[in-house]
Symmetry: C2
Subunit: 312 residues, 2 copies
Amino acid sequence: MTSTLAIGNYNPTDRAALVDAFDAHVIAGPDEIAALDQGLREGITAVAYAGHHAFGGDQMDLLPQLKVVANYGVGYDAIDVSAANARGIKVTNTPNVLNDDVADLAIAMWLVQGREMRAAEERVRSGAWAKEGPAPLNRKLSGGTAGIMGMGRIGRDIADRLAAFKMDIHYHARSEKETPGWMYHADPVALAKAVDFMFVALVGGPETENYVSKEVIAALGTRGVVINISRGSVIDEEALLDALESGAIAGAGLDVFVGEPKVNPRFLTLENVALQPHQGSGTVQTRAAMAQLQRDNVAAQLAGTDLLTPVN
Amino acid sequence: MTSTLAIGNYNPTDRAALVDAFDAHVIAGPDEIAALDQGLREGITAVAYAGHHAFGGDQMDLLPQLKVVANYGVGYDAIDVSAANARGIKVTNTPNVLNDDVADLAIAMWLVQGREMRAAEERVRSGAWAKEGPAPLNRKLSGGTAGIMGMGRIGRDIADRLAAFKMDIHYHARSEKETPGWMYHADPVALAKAVDFMFVALVGGPETENYVSKEVIAALGTRGVVINISRGSVIDEEALLDALESGAIAGAGLDVFVGEPKVNPRFLTLENVALQPHQGSGTVQTRAAMAQLQRDNVAAQLAGTDLLTPVN
């Protein structure tokens, strides 16, 4: 009887690796746990978790021997860590291996939105360039002001890239960090006032819900652009949509949305936004590294050695 | 009688500035010179030039007092500098003020092509993300190998940005430069063999025509991507199209084309290319700075002071 339950929509390679390594039993989502054979449930000590469905105390109680939930992804807001703590269950995630990809996509959305590249590409492909002339001028990006909201590891990787674009860098975090002279703002509204481009790299979960509030968005001003590669929940999405539609801010680049993969249809007709389908870490190389780190955490639990990347 | 002839399709602001500053006579292209009043032609000492129509010895001979051709743009391959030299005419351009914008667009096309952002955005906007699931995984970019073909000021600005993406940087130029340990290749084929991503930042003109040859393109290999922000003429475009269509290379990001604004229709159906309408320097801020530098060169000529940015 296996001791590992894999929960999520794994690709064939990762699924096969979980089965090969741990003889894992695989189910699509946490709501399928209750239907599992009782003997199977009571033997499970490790869960390999993927996806954004909530995994809470009720599900954990169906797995009485559970010791670790190894999450696939750096963001583990789907997992109720308080419930895990109360049950002596450790949670692990897959940090760092995805930082580069996520930072790359943040920079990419900033450039695509600011240089109006989607409309410009359509101008080439439609023949309008030859028929109607050059694309409208857009906006210089390098040398401007950028703010990082949440200066964790991904925020830092974004800031390091922005520095090479000669940006004046500001940031907000719970505490001031050691930086190459970047300006710390204790107040998120003050950060938004100080910059044109705000990159949101917060941790998800209840504590940061709507942290990028209506007031923060308003403070960005008419030249302001929001780039979000963290979680849809960290922005007041209705306030963002209002500001994008009214011109109260200039634009946005969004890889994450409230209720994704469904997207508020008000976004879909906007031309001042770059929209991506939560593909920040979506490269072959990085997804393989994330899956490996997830399996390494499961293996550590089963072998009784230290977890590699615990979060609690 | 004015001493300044402005040639090109200027926007209203720049056109007005040329008229205000110099009482310039404005025509759309060099083929209109011959039809000008003889007295006007013989009084012209400065030409403010914009556009890609050839401006050669025959046109210069119609302006017997011509002392300077002040080009709008860093690339002055439309102007026959040998012919200018033979007549004692100085040529100026607008370097440096556009480096940031052009480097930004080079990085942007690299990211858009590699992370398949155009198809990914269509997946969001069409609703396919919710209906069909996540976008296909694509390719990790940071931490790879990049080659700069032509290490002038723009090439350097591209390389500095790529360094922040943790790229291993190689380059080819006529001579080795002082760099932070980047690898010099005297042979362009050797550069292409050494890297996955090749950024072309050559000077245009007859000397670099098809410099990125069939052999260079083949040496990039099946993971290779070409990014070009210089001139369409520097790449053997037929060889590039063959390689893109056959999969001999992985993709391209192109802001410039042979015969632009007409684009070879073979490009338009490719999904492995990012296409932009020669908008490298196309921001409000940079185009204004280019126009100012062009006028400053004209003003220096008229005042008898040193030209700011002569090329000959």
